[in-house]
Amino acid sequence: MLNIWSYRSDKASRSVAQEQQPLFTGFNGVVLLRNLALILFTLVVCGVAATYLSILVTLIFPWLRVNQMVFAVMLMPVLWGSLAYWVCAAERTWIAAAAITTTGAVSACILHGI
Protein backbone atom coordinates (compact mmCIF):
# COMPACT_ATOMS: atom_id res chain seq x y z
CA MET A 1 0.00 0.00 0.00
CA LEU A 2 1.37 3.39 -0.97
CA ASN A 3 0.53 5.81 1.80
CA ILE A 4 0.82 9.05 -0.12
CA TRP A 5 -1.37 11.04 2.24
CA SER A 6 -1.13 11.24 5.97
CA TYR A 7 -3.60 14.09 6.38
CA ARG A 8 -6.10 13.66 9.20
CA SER A 9 -8.91 16.13 9.57
CA ASP A 10 -9.24 17.74 13.00
CA LYS A 11 -12.98 17.89 12.48
CA ALA A 12 -13.01 14.15 11.94
CA SER A 13 -12.44 13.68 15.65
CA ARG A 14 -15.82 15.34 16.25
CA SER A 15 -17.64 12.69 14.28
CA VAL A 16 -20.18 11.02 16.53
CA ALA A 17 -21.19 7.75 14.94
CA GLN A 18 -18.13 6.46 13.12
CA GLU A 19 -14.82 5.18 14.29
CA GLN A 20 -12.06 7.60 13.34
CA GLN A 21 -9.78 6.50 10.54
CA PRO A 22 -7.26 8.55 8.54
CA LEU A 23 -9.24 10.40 5.88
CA PHE A 24 -6.62 9.85 3.20
CA THR A 25 -5.26 6.32 3.19
CA GLY A 26 -3.52 6.11 -0.19
CA PHE A 27 -3.94 3.56 -2.97
CA ASN A 28 -2.42 0.43 -4.44
CA GLY A 29 -0.68 1.13 -7.77
CA VAL A 30 -1.11 -2.39 -9.17
CA VAL A 31 -4.80 -2.47 -8.33
CA LEU A 32 -5.19 0.98 -9.88
CA LEU A 33 -3.53 -0.13 -13.14
CA ARG A 34 -5.65 -3.28 -13.28
CA ASN A 35 -8.81 -1.27 -12.78
CA LEU A 36 -7.79 1.26 -15.43
CA ALA A 37 -7.26 -1.58 -17.90
CA LEU A 38 -10.66 -3.01 -16.98
CA ILE A 39 -12.31 0.40 -17.42
CA LEU A 40 -10.76 0.73 -20.88
CA PHE A 41 -11.89 -2.76 -21.77
CA THR A 42 -15.49 -2.44 -20.53
CA LEU A 43 -16.03 1.03 -21.96
CA VAL A 44 -14.28 0.66 -25.32
CA VAL A 45 -13.56 -2.94 -26.38
CA CYS A 46 -16.87 -4.33 -25.08
CA GLY A 47 -18.71 -1.48 -26.85
CA VAL A 48 -17.03 -2.11 -30.20
CA ALA A 49 -17.48 -5.88 -29.90
CA ALA A 50 -21.16 -5.46 -28.92
CA THR A 51 -21.77 -3.20 -31.92
CA TYR A 52 -20.35 -5.63 -34.49
CA LEU A 53 -21.84 -8.66 -32.80
CA SER A 54 -25.34 -7.18 -32.59
CA ILE A 55 -25.27 -6.24 -36.29
CA LEU A 56 -24.03 -9.70 -37.25
CA VAL A 57 -26.63 -11.46 -35.11
CA THR A 58 -29.55 -9.44 -36.52
CA LEU A 59 -28.47 -10.08 -40.11
CA ILE A 60 -29.32 -13.74 -39.50
CA PHE A 61 -33.01 -12.90 -39.21
CA PRO A 62 -34.99 -12.83 -42.47
CA TRP A 63 -36.26 -9.32 -41.89
CA LEU A 64 -36.22 -6.13 -43.89
CA ARG A 65 -33.03 -4.10 -43.49
CA VAL A 66 -34.74 -1.33 -41.48
CA ASN A 67 -36.02 -3.86 -38.93
CA GLN A 68 -32.64 -5.56 -38.70
CA MET A 69 -30.88 -2.26 -38.06
CA VAL A 70 -33.32 -1.05 -35.41
CA PHE A 71 -33.21 -4.42 -33.63
CA ALA A 72 -29.40 -4.25 -33.67
CA VAL A 73 -29.49 -0.73 -32.17
CA MET A 74 -31.73 -1.95 -29.34
CA LEU A 75 -29.76 -5.14 -28.79
CA MET A 76 -26.35 -3.46 -28.65
CA PRO A 77 -26.56 -1.81 -25.17
CA VAL A 78 -27.85 -5.04 -23.62
CA LEU A 79 -25.04 -6.98 -25.25
CA TRP A 80 -22.50 -4.34 -24.20
CA GLY A 81 -23.66 -4.51 -20.59
CA SER A 82 -23.61 -8.31 -20.67
CA LEU A 83 -20.05 -8.41 -22.02
CA ALA A 84 -18.94 -5.87 -19.41
CA TYR A 85 -20.55 -8.03 -16.71
CA TRP A 86 -18.85 -11.16 -18.05
CA VAL A 87 -15.37 -9.66 -18.12
CA CYS A 88 -15.79 -8.26 -14.59
CA ALA A 89 -17.19 -11.50 -13.19
CA ALA A 90 -14.78 -13.88 -14.89
CA GLU A 91 -12.36 -15.72 -12.61
CA ARG A 92 -9.67 -15.44 -15.28
CA THR A 93 -10.28 -11.99 -16.66
CA TRP A 94 -7.87 -12.39 -19.54
CA ILE A 95 -9.75 -15.41 -20.95
CA ALA A 96 -13.03 -13.46 -21.03
CA ALA A 97 -11.20 -10.44 -22.47
CA ALA A 98 -9.58 -12.57 -25.18
CA ALA A 99 -12.90 -14.24 -26.05
CA ILE A 100 -14.68 -10.89 -26.33
CA THR A 101 -11.89 -9.36 -28.40
CA THR A 102 -11.79 -12.36 -30.74
CA THR A 103 -15.57 -12.45 -31.16
CA GLY A 104 -15.66 -8.71 -31.87
CA ALA A 105 -12.75 -8.96 -34.33
CA VAL A 106 -14.26 -11.94 -36.19
CA SER A 107 -17.64 -10.17 -36.41
CA ALA A 108 -15.96 -7.03 -37.73
CA CYS A 109 -14.00 -9.03 -40.33
CA ILE A 110 -17.17 -10.78 -41.55
CA LEU A 111 -19.11 -7.51 -41.77
CA HIS A 112 -16.30 -5.60 -43.48
CA GLY A 113 -15.82 -8.52 -45.85
CA ILE A 114 -12.19 -9.03 -44.93
Binding site: R14, T51, Y52, Q68, V70, V73, P77, L83, A89, L111
Partner: protein, 481 residues
Protein backbone atom coordinates in the same frame (compact mmCIF):
# COMPACT_ATOMS: atom_id res chain seq x y z
CA UNK B 1 -33.36 -28.47 -11.47
CA UNK B 2 -33.03 -25.07 -9.87
CA UNK B 3 -33.27 -22.04 -12.08
CA UNK B 4 -31.22 -20.11 -9.55
CA UNK B 5 -27.60 -19.35 -10.43
CA UNK B 6 -24.98 -21.18 -8.37
CA UNK B 7 -23.54 -19.61 -5.24
CA UNK B 8 -20.24 -19.11 -7.01
CA UNK B 9 -21.93 -17.45 -10.04
CA UNK B 10 -23.85 -15.16 -7.68
CA UNK B 11 -20.67 -14.18 -5.86
CA UNK B 12 -18.92 -13.37 -9.11
CA UNK B 13 -21.96 -11.47 -10.33
CA UNK B 14 -21.99 -9.47 -7.10
CA UNK B 15 -18.35 -8.59 -7.61
CA UNK B 16 -19.03 -7.49 -11.20
CA UNK B 17 -22.16 -5.60 -10.09
CA UNK B 18 -20.16 -3.73 -7.46
CA UNK B 19 -17.35 -2.88 -9.88
CA UNK B 20 -19.66 -1.67 -12.66
CA UNK B 21 -21.73 0.23 -10.09
CA UNK B 22 -18.68 2.01 -8.74
CA UNK B 23 -17.55 2.84 -12.27
CA UNK B 24 -20.79 4.55 -13.23
CA UNK B 25 -22.64 5.10 -9.92
CA UNK B 26 -21.87 8.78 -9.45
CA UNK B 27 -22.58 9.62 -13.10
CA UNK B 28 -25.79 7.58 -12.98
CA UNK B 29 -26.84 9.47 -9.85
CA UNK B 30 -26.59 12.84 -11.65
CA UNK B 31 -28.19 11.45 -14.82
CA UNK B 32 -31.11 9.88 -12.94
CA UNK B 33 -31.73 12.83 -10.62
CA UNK B 34 -31.75 15.35 -13.46
CA UNK B 35 -33.68 12.93 -15.69
CA UNK B 36 -36.40 12.42 -13.07
CA UNK B 37 -36.85 16.20 -12.83
CA UNK B 38 -36.54 16.70 -16.59
CA UNK B 39 -39.72 14.66 -17.05
CA UNK B 40 -41.44 17.94 -16.12
CA UNK B 41 -39.41 20.01 -18.57
CA UNK B 42 -42.50 21.35 -20.41
CA UNK B 43 -43.87 22.58 -17.07
CA UNK B 44 -40.51 24.07 -15.99
CA UNK B 45 -40.25 25.99 -19.27
CA UNK B 46 -43.69 27.50 -18.73
CA UNK B 47 -42.86 28.23 -15.06
CA UNK B 48 -39.75 30.17 -16.06
CA UNK B 49 -41.79 32.43 -18.35
CA UNK B 50 -45.29 32.47 -16.86
CA UNK B 51 -46.11 35.84 -18.42
CA UNK B 52 -46.18 34.48 -22.00
CA UNK B 53 -49.78 34.38 -23.31
CA UNK B 54 -51.00 30.82 -23.76
CA UNK B 55 -53.57 29.53 -26.23
CA UNK B 56 -54.63 26.25 -27.82
CA UNK B 57 -56.68 27.40 -30.82
CA UNK B 58 -54.84 29.02 -33.69
CA UNK B 59 -55.63 29.98 -37.24
CA UNK B 60 -53.58 28.57 -40.12
CA UNK B 61 -53.44 32.08 -41.64
CA UNK B 62 -51.75 33.46 -38.51
CA UNK B 63 -49.13 30.69 -38.50
CA UNK B 64 -48.43 31.54 -42.14
CA UNK B 65 -48.19 35.22 -41.19
CA UNK B 66 -45.47 34.37 -38.61
CA UNK B 67 -43.64 32.30 -41.23
CA UNK B 68 -43.74 35.18 -43.76
CA UNK B 69 -42.47 37.59 -41.08
CA UNK B 70 -39.47 35.32 -40.51
CA UNK B 71 -39.00 34.92 -44.26
CA UNK B 72 -38.64 38.69 -44.64
CA UNK B 73 -35.42 38.50 -42.61
CA UNK B 74 -33.26 36.00 -44.56
CA UNK B 75 -30.32 36.51 -42.17
CA UNK B 76 -32.48 34.87 -39.46
CA UNK B 77 -33.05 31.70 -41.46
CA UNK B 78 -30.98 28.57 -41.02
CA UNK B 79 -30.95 25.40 -43.10
CA UNK B 80 -34.41 24.44 -41.86
CA UNK B 81 -37.22 26.24 -40.07
CA UNK B 82 -39.24 24.60 -37.32
CA UNK B 83 -42.57 25.99 -36.15
CA UNK B 84 -44.06 24.35 -33.06
CA UNK B 85 -47.81 24.60 -32.78
CA UNK B 86 -49.57 25.01 -29.42
CA UNK B 87 -50.49 21.76 -27.64
CA UNK B 88 -52.12 21.01 -24.28
CA UNK B 89 -48.76 20.34 -22.55
CA UNK B 90 -47.17 23.39 -24.19
CA UNK B 91 -49.88 25.84 -25.20
CA UNK B 92 -47.44 28.25 -26.86
CA UNK B 93 -46.48 28.40 -30.55
CA UNK B 94 -42.78 28.86 -31.20
CA UNK B 95 -40.49 29.36 -34.16
CA UNK B 96 -36.80 28.37 -34.20
CA UNK B 97 -34.64 31.03 -35.88
CA UNK B 98 -30.89 31.70 -35.97
CA UNK B 99 -30.94 33.95 -32.89
CA UNK B 100 -33.01 31.50 -30.84
CA UNK B 101 -36.59 30.38 -30.31
CA UNK B 102 -39.28 33.04 -30.71
CA UNK B 103 -42.83 32.83 -29.42
CA UNK B 104 -45.65 33.36 -31.91
CA UNK B 105 -48.62 35.34 -30.61
CA UNK B 106 -52.15 34.19 -31.33
CA UNK B 107 -52.52 36.99 -33.93
CA UNK B 108 -49.49 35.66 -35.83
CA UNK B 109 -47.01 38.34 -34.77
CA UNK B 110 -43.55 37.11 -33.78
CA UNK B 111 -42.95 37.78 -30.11
CA UNK B 112 -40.08 37.70 -27.60
CA UNK B 113 -37.35 35.09 -27.35
CA UNK B 114 -37.97 31.97 -25.31
CA UNK B 115 -35.78 32.15 -22.22
CA UNK B 116 -35.66 29.17 -19.87
CA UNK B 117 -32.03 28.70 -18.83
CA UNK B 118 -32.85 26.63 -15.73
CA UNK B 119 -34.72 24.06 -17.83
CA UNK B 120 -31.77 24.01 -20.24
CA UNK B 121 -29.30 23.53 -17.39
CA UNK B 122 -31.36 20.64 -16.07
CA UNK B 123 -31.75 18.88 -19.40
CA UNK B 124 -28.09 19.49 -20.32
CA UNK B 125 -27.07 17.84 -17.05
CA UNK B 126 -29.18 14.83 -18.00
CA UNK B 127 -28.07 14.63 -21.63
CA UNK B 128 -24.40 15.66 -21.40
CA UNK B 129 -23.46 15.94 -17.70
CA UNK B 130 -22.56 19.55 -18.68
CA UNK B 131 -19.61 18.23 -20.70
CA UNK B 132 -18.97 19.18 -24.35
CA UNK B 133 -22.09 17.91 -26.12
CA UNK B 134 -20.68 15.21 -28.42
CA UNK B 135 -18.45 13.73 -25.71
CA UNK B 136 -20.99 14.14 -22.92
CA UNK B 137 -23.78 12.46 -24.84
CA UNK B 138 -21.59 9.45 -25.66
CA UNK B 139 -20.54 9.18 -22.01
CA UNK B 140 -24.16 9.32 -20.81
CA UNK B 141 -25.16 6.70 -23.38
CA UNK B 142 -22.31 4.43 -22.28
CA UNK B 143 -23.73 4.71 -18.76
CA UNK B 144 -27.02 3.44 -20.26
CA UNK B 145 -25.24 0.40 -21.69
CA UNK B 146 -23.44 -0.28 -18.41
CA UNK B 147 -26.79 0.06 -16.64
CA UNK B 148 -27.97 -2.92 -18.69
CA UNK B 149 -24.96 -4.83 -17.32
CA UNK B 150 -25.85 -3.70 -13.79
CA UNK B 151 -29.43 -4.94 -14.19
CA UNK B 152 -28.33 -8.36 -15.48
CA UNK B 153 -25.55 -8.82 -12.92
CA UNK B 154 -27.87 -7.59 -10.15
CA UNK B 155 -30.38 -10.32 -10.95
CA UNK B 156 -27.73 -13.05 -11.06
CA UNK B 157 -26.22 -11.79 -7.79
CA UNK B 158 -29.56 -11.71 -5.99
CA UNK B 159 -30.15 -15.36 -5.05
CA UNK B 160 -32.89 -14.53 -2.54
CA UNK B 161 -34.89 -12.65 -5.13
CA UNK B 162 -38.09 -14.68 -4.53
CA UNK B 163 -37.73 -15.04 -0.76
CA UNK B 164 -37.03 -11.35 -0.30
CA UNK B 165 -39.52 -10.15 -2.90
CA UNK B 166 -41.46 -8.15 -0.30
CA UNK B 167 -38.83 -7.76 2.43
CA UNK B 168 -38.25 -4.21 3.54
CA UNK B 169 -36.44 -4.21 6.89
CA UNK B 170 -36.24 -0.46 7.45
CA UNK B 171 -35.11 -0.74 11.07
CA UNK B 172 -32.30 -3.21 10.60
CA UNK B 173 -28.79 -3.12 9.22
CA UNK B 174 -30.31 -4.49 5.99
CA UNK B 175 -32.13 -1.19 5.42
CA UNK B 176 -29.95 0.19 2.61
CA UNK B 177 -29.61 -3.19 0.89
CA UNK B 178 -33.37 -3.84 1.11
CA UNK B 179 -34.24 -0.45 -0.32
CA UNK B 180 -31.68 -0.94 -3.11
CA UNK B 181 -32.87 -4.47 -3.95
CA UNK B 182 -36.63 -3.91 -3.72
CA UNK B 183 -36.58 -0.74 -5.82
CA UNK B 184 -34.27 -2.44 -8.34
CA UNK B 185 -36.23 -5.66 -8.74
CA UNK B 186 -39.72 -4.17 -8.98
CA UNK B 187 -38.75 -1.44 -11.41
CA UNK B 188 -36.56 -3.55 -13.69
CA UNK B 189 -38.70 -3.42 -16.87
CA UNK B 190 -38.78 0.38 -16.66
CA UNK B 191 -35.06 0.70 -15.96
CA UNK B 192 -34.16 -1.63 -18.83
CA UNK B 193 -36.28 0.39 -21.26
CA UNK B 194 -34.76 3.64 -20.01
CA UNK B 195 -31.23 2.22 -20.28
CA UNK B 196 -31.69 0.91 -23.84
CA UNK B 197 -33.44 4.02 -25.17
CA UNK B 198 -30.97 6.28 -23.33
CA UNK B 199 -28.02 4.44 -24.86
CA UNK B 200 -29.60 4.82 -28.31
CA UNK B 201 -29.57 8.65 -28.29
CA UNK B 202 -25.82 9.06 -27.86
CA UNK B 203 -24.65 5.98 -29.71
CA UNK B 204 -26.87 6.44 -32.79
CA UNK B 205 -24.14 8.35 -34.65
CA UNK B 206 -21.52 5.69 -33.86
CA UNK B 207 -23.93 2.93 -34.89
CA UNK B 208 -24.85 4.82 -38.07
CA UNK B 209 -21.15 5.01 -38.99
CA UNK B 210 -20.55 1.29 -38.46
CA UNK B 211 -23.74 0.36 -40.36
CA UNK B 212 -22.76 2.65 -43.24
CA UNK B 213 -19.22 1.23 -43.40
CA UNK B 214 -20.35 -2.40 -43.24
CA UNK B 215 -23.64 -2.45 -45.17
CA UNK B 216 -23.83 0.72 -47.31
CA UNK B 217 -20.29 1.29 -48.66
CA UNK B 218 -19.74 4.20 -46.28
CA UNK B 219 -22.90 6.08 -47.30
CA UNK B 220 -24.26 7.34 -43.97
CA UNK B 221 -27.22 9.17 -45.50
CA UNK B 222 -28.38 5.85 -46.98
CA UNK B 223 -28.66 4.44 -43.43
CA UNK B 224 -30.66 7.45 -42.30
CA UNK B 225 -32.97 7.19 -45.33
CA UNK B 226 -33.52 3.47 -44.74
CA UNK B 227 -34.62 4.06 -41.15
CA UNK B 228 -36.26 7.51 -41.29
CA UNK B 229 -37.53 7.44 -44.93
CA UNK B 230 -35.84 9.24 -47.78
CA UNK B 231 -36.46 12.91 -48.50
CA UNK B 232 -38.73 13.67 -51.45
CA UNK B 233 -36.86 14.83 -54.54
CA UNK B 234 -38.26 18.19 -55.58
CA UNK B 235 -37.07 20.85 -58.02
CA UNK B 236 -38.85 24.09 -57.24
CA UNK B 237 -37.74 27.69 -57.30
CA UNK B 238 -37.54 28.27 -53.57
CA UNK B 239 -40.93 29.98 -53.52
CA UNK B 240 -42.72 30.78 -50.19
CA UNK B 241 -44.46 27.78 -48.69
CA UNK B 242 -48.26 27.62 -48.55
CA UNK B 243 -48.40 26.95 -44.79
CA UNK B 244 -52.05 27.88 -44.47
CA UNK B 245 -53.14 25.56 -47.30
CA UNK B 246 -51.10 22.69 -45.83
CA UNK B 247 -52.56 23.05 -42.33
CA UNK B 248 -56.09 23.28 -43.72
CA UNK B 249 -55.53 20.09 -45.73
CA UNK B 250 -54.43 18.06 -42.71
CA UNK B 251 -57.89 17.11 -41.31
CA UNK B 252 -58.77 15.52 -44.64
CA UNK B 253 -55.43 13.68 -44.95
CA UNK B 254 -55.23 12.43 -41.34
CA UNK B 255 -58.53 13.03 -39.52
CA UNK B 256 -57.37 11.45 -36.25
CA UNK B 257 -53.93 13.11 -36.15
CA UNK B 258 -53.14 16.37 -34.36
CA UNK B 259 -50.45 18.48 -36.06
CA UNK B 260 -47.96 19.92 -33.56
CA UNK B 261 -44.98 20.98 -35.61
CA UNK B 262 -44.09 22.13 -39.11
CA UNK B 263 -40.59 21.82 -40.52
CA UNK B 264 -39.53 23.50 -43.75
CA UNK B 265 -36.50 21.50 -44.87
CA UNK B 266 -33.84 23.18 -47.05
CA UNK B 267 -35.74 26.43 -46.70
CA UNK B 268 -35.64 28.88 -49.64
CA UNK B 269 -33.86 26.39 -51.90
CA UNK B 270 -35.23 24.51 -54.94
CA UNK B 271 -35.21 21.31 -52.83
CA UNK B 272 -37.36 22.70 -50.02
CA UNK B 273 -40.31 20.66 -48.77
CA UNK B 274 -42.58 20.72 -45.76
CA UNK B 275 -43.04 18.17 -42.98
CA UNK B 276 -46.09 18.35 -40.74
CA UNK B 277 -45.48 16.33 -37.59
CA UNK B 278 -48.72 15.04 -36.08
CA UNK B 279 -49.35 13.08 -32.93
CA UNK B 280 -51.63 10.04 -33.01
CA UNK B 281 -53.79 9.24 -30.01
CA UNK B 282 -52.89 6.09 -28.03
CA UNK B 283 -49.62 5.68 -29.91
CA UNK B 284 -46.11 5.88 -28.47
CA UNK B 285 -44.63 7.32 -31.67
CA UNK B 286 -43.38 10.89 -31.33
CA UNK B 287 -45.15 11.86 -34.56
CA UNK B 288 -46.12 10.75 -38.02
CA UNK B 289 -44.53 12.98 -40.64
CA UNK B 290 -46.81 14.15 -43.45
CA UNK B 291 -44.82 15.63 -46.31
CA UNK B 292 -45.90 18.38 -48.67
CA UNK B 293 -44.49 20.27 -51.66
CA UNK B 294 -44.05 24.04 -51.14
CA UNK B 295 -47.25 24.75 -53.12
CA UNK B 296 -49.23 22.77 -50.53
CA UNK B 297 -49.75 19.57 -52.53
CA UNK B 298 -49.56 16.43 -50.37
CA UNK B 299 -46.71 14.06 -51.20
CA UNK B 300 -46.73 11.16 -48.73
CA UNK B 301 -46.08 10.19 -45.12
CA UNK B 302 -42.88 8.79 -43.63
CA UNK B 303 -44.55 5.68 -42.18
CA UNK B 304 -43.78 6.07 -38.49
CA UNK B 305 -47.40 5.25 -37.59
CA UNK B 306 -48.04 2.26 -39.83
CA UNK B 307 -44.79 1.46 -41.61
CA UNK B 308 -42.25 -1.24 -40.81
CA UNK B 309 -42.05 -2.17 -37.07
CA UNK B 310 -38.44 -0.94 -36.95
CA UNK B 311 -39.46 2.51 -38.12
CA UNK B 312 -42.28 2.65 -35.56
CA UNK B 313 -39.97 1.54 -32.76
CA UNK B 314 -37.23 4.03 -33.57
CA UNK B 315 -39.70 6.93 -33.57
CA UNK B 316 -41.10 5.83 -30.21
CA UNK B 317 -37.81 5.90 -28.27
CA UNK B 318 -38.06 9.61 -27.47
CA UNK B 319 -41.54 9.40 -25.95
CA UNK B 320 -40.75 6.18 -24.10
CA UNK B 321 -37.55 7.59 -22.62
CA UNK B 322 -38.95 10.91 -21.40
CA UNK B 323 -42.51 9.88 -20.54
CA UNK B 324 -44.09 12.63 -22.62
CA UNK B 325 -47.23 10.78 -23.61
CA UNK B 326 -50.71 10.53 -22.13
CA UNK B 327 -50.36 13.52 -19.85
CA UNK B 328 -49.55 14.24 -16.22
CA UNK B 329 -50.24 10.78 -14.77
CA UNK B 330 -47.49 9.22 -16.90
CA UNK B 331 -45.15 12.08 -15.99
CA UNK B 332 -45.67 11.39 -12.28
CA UNK B 333 -45.09 7.66 -12.81
CA UNK B 334 -41.85 8.49 -14.63
CA UNK B 335 -40.88 10.88 -11.82
CA UNK B 336 -41.44 8.06 -9.31
CA UNK B 337 -39.36 5.53 -11.25
CA UNK B 338 -36.71 8.16 -12.02
CA UNK B 339 -36.33 9.02 -8.34
CA UNK B 340 -36.28 5.30 -7.50
CA UNK B 341 -33.40 4.87 -9.94
CA UNK B 342 -31.66 7.85 -8.30
CA UNK B 343 -32.03 6.17 -4.90
CA UNK B 344 -30.74 2.88 -6.36
CA UNK B 345 -27.64 4.63 -7.77
CA UNK B 346 -26.93 6.34 -4.46
CA UNK B 347 -27.71 3.36 -2.23
CA UNK B 348 -25.54 1.08 -4.38
CA UNK B 349 -22.49 3.18 -3.57
CA UNK B 350 -23.59 3.43 0.08
CA UNK B 351 -23.72 -0.39 0.28
CA UNK B 352 -20.17 -0.57 -1.07
CA UNK B 353 -19.02 2.06 1.43
CA UNK B 354 -20.65 0.20 4.33
CA UNK B 355 -19.06 -3.09 3.27
CA UNK B 356 -15.59 -1.55 3.48
CA UNK B 357 -15.92 -1.50 7.31
CA UNK B 358 -13.76 1.60 7.53
CA UNK B 359 -14.11 5.27 6.74
CA UNK B 360 -11.81 7.46 4.73
CA UNK B 361 -12.21 10.60 2.67
CA UNK B 362 -14.53 8.87 0.15
CA UNK B 363 -17.33 8.49 2.75
CA UNK B 364 -17.92 12.17 3.54
CA UNK B 365 -17.01 13.25 -0.02
CA UNK B 366 -19.71 10.98 -1.46
CA UNK B 367 -22.20 12.22 1.14
CA UNK B 368 -21.36 15.79 0.06
CA UNK B 369 -21.90 14.97 -3.63
CA UNK B 370 -25.11 13.09 -2.82
CA UNK B 371 -26.77 15.91 -0.91
CA UNK B 372 -24.95 18.72 -2.69
CA UNK B 373 -26.54 17.85 -6.06
CA UNK B 374 -30.17 18.65 -5.09
CA UNK B 375 -28.93 21.77 -3.32
CA UNK B 376 -27.06 22.85 -6.46
CA UNK B 377 -30.08 22.30 -8.70
CA UNK B 378 -32.38 24.17 -6.29
CA UNK B 379 -29.85 27.01 -5.97
CA UNK B 380 -29.61 27.36 -9.76
CA UNK B 381 -33.40 27.65 -9.96
CA UNK B 382 -33.33 30.27 -7.19
CA UNK B 383 -30.62 32.48 -8.70
CA UNK B 384 -32.32 32.29 -12.11
CA UNK B 385 -35.70 33.40 -10.73
CA UNK B 386 -34.40 35.91 -8.16
CA UNK B 387 -31.49 37.47 -10.04
CA UNK B 388 -31.97 36.29 -13.65
CA UNK B 389 -28.54 34.69 -13.37
CA UNK B 390 -27.54 31.08 -13.73
CA UNK B 391 -24.47 29.17 -14.88
CA UNK B 392 -23.11 25.67 -15.14
CA UNK B 393 -20.13 26.80 -13.03
CA UNK B 394 -22.54 27.79 -10.25
CA UNK B 395 -24.03 24.31 -10.23
CA UNK B 396 -20.69 22.51 -10.00
CA UNK B 397 -19.08 24.99 -7.60
CA UNK B 398 -21.94 24.37 -5.17
CA UNK B 399 -21.43 20.60 -5.48
CA UNK B 400 -17.67 21.11 -4.96
CA UNK B 401 -18.26 23.35 -1.94
CA UNK B 402 -20.72 20.81 -0.52
CA UNK B 403 -18.11 18.08 -0.93
CA UNK B 404 -15.42 20.14 0.81
CA UNK B 405 -17.82 21.03 3.65
CA UNK B 406 -18.84 17.38 4.00
CA UNK B 407 -15.18 16.28 4.29
CA UNK B 408 -14.69 18.95 6.96
CA UNK B 409 -17.82 17.85 8.89
CA UNK B 410 -17.11 14.11 8.39
CA UNK B 411 -20.37 12.95 9.93
CA UNK B 412 -22.93 11.46 7.55
CA UNK B 413 -26.04 12.30 9.57
CA UNK B 414 -24.88 15.85 10.16
CA UNK B 415 -24.00 16.32 6.48
CA UNK B 416 -27.38 14.99 5.36
CA UNK B 417 -29.23 17.07 7.93
CA UNK B 418 -27.48 20.34 7.04
CA UNK B 419 -27.80 19.94 3.27
CA UNK B 420 -31.42 18.76 3.41
CA UNK B 421 -32.45 21.74 5.54
CA UNK B 422 -30.51 24.12 3.26
CA UNK B 423 -32.08 22.63 0.12
CA UNK B 424 -35.53 22.96 1.70
CA UNK B 425 -34.90 26.61 2.52
CA UNK B 426 -33.64 27.34 -1.00
CA UNK B 427 -36.74 25.69 -2.48
CA UNK B 428 -39.01 27.83 -0.29
CA UNK B 429 -37.00 30.93 -1.27
CA UNK B 430 -37.36 30.01 -4.96
CA UNK B 431 -41.15 29.82 -4.74
CA UNK B 432 -41.27 33.13 -2.83
CA UNK B 433 -38.95 34.76 -5.39
CA UNK B 434 -41.12 33.44 -8.22
CA UNK B 435 -44.26 34.99 -6.73
CA UNK B 436 -42.42 38.25 -5.98
CA UNK B 437 -41.06 38.42 -9.54
CA UNK B 438 -44.08 37.36 -11.58
CA UNK B 439 -46.97 38.36 -9.27
CA UNK B 440 -50.36 37.00 -10.34
CA UNK B 441 -48.81 34.94 -13.16
CA UNK B 442 -46.97 32.88 -10.53
CA UNK B 443 -50.12 31.75 -8.75
CA UNK B 444 -52.14 30.35 -11.61
CA UNK B 445 -52.01 27.36 -13.93
CA UNK B 446 -48.78 25.47 -14.32
CA UNK B 447 -46.74 28.04 -12.37
CA UNK B 448 -48.91 27.53 -9.32
CA UNK B 449 -48.48 23.77 -9.68
CA UNK B 450 -44.69 24.02 -9.92
CA UNK B 451 -44.51 26.41 -6.96
CA UNK B 452 -46.66 24.11 -4.82
CA UNK B 453 -44.53 21.13 -5.91
CA UNK B 454 -41.44 23.15 -4.90
CA UNK B 455 -42.91 23.78 -1.44
CA UNK B 456 -43.85 20.09 -1.10
CA UNK B 457 -40.29 19.14 -2.05
CA UNK B 458 -39.03 21.65 0.53
CA UNK B 459 -41.21 20.03 3.20
CA UNK B 460 -39.88 16.59 2.24
CA UNK B 461 -36.27 17.78 2.40
CA UNK B 462 -37.02 19.38 5.76
CA UNK B 463 -38.42 16.07 7.02
CA UNK B 464 -35.33 14.21 5.78
CA UNK B 465 -33.14 16.77 7.53
CA UNK B 466 -35.15 16.48 10.75
CA UNK B 467 -34.86 12.67 10.67
CA UNK B 468 -31.11 12.89 10.20
CA UNK B 469 -30.75 15.41 13.02
CA UNK B 470 -32.52 12.85 15.26
CA UNK B 471 -29.97 10.25 14.13
CA UNK B 472 -27.15 12.55 15.31
CA UNK B 473 -28.72 12.78 18.76
CA UNK B 474 -29.49 9.04 19.04
CA UNK B 475 -26.16 7.84 17.65
CA UNK B 476 -23.60 6.26 19.92
CA UNK B 477 -19.98 5.63 18.97
CA UNK B 478 -19.62 2.32 17.12
CA UNK B 479 -16.32 0.71 16.23
CA UNK B 480 -16.51 -0.27 12.58
CA UNK B 481 -13.24 -2.14 12.52
Amino acid sequence: MSLLPSVSASKKALHAHGWLGLLTGAALYFICLSGALAVFLPQFERWEQPDIPEYLSYSADNIEKAYLTALSKPEQLGHDMVIRLPTSDKPRATMYLQDGTHYINQDGSVSSLANHPFSELLVNLHLYLHLPKSFGMILVSICGAIMCGLIISGFVAHRRIRKDAFALRLNSSQRTADIHNRLSVWGTPFYLVIAVTGAFFGLAAWFNWILAETLYDGDRSAVVEEVYASAPLLEGIGEPVAISKILEAMPAIAPKATPFYITIEDINTPKQYVIVGASHENRLIYAEQYRFAPDGSYLDKAGFSDGEPGRQVIFSTYQIHFGWFDGLAIQFIYLGFGLALTVISASGINIWLNKRKYRDVINPAWEGILWGAPLAIASCAFTQIAFNWISVAECWLIILAATVCAIAINNDSKIKSIFCFTTGLVLVATSIAHVAHFGADAIRGVSLGVNIAGLAAAAFMGWLGWRSSNDIIKATPVALK
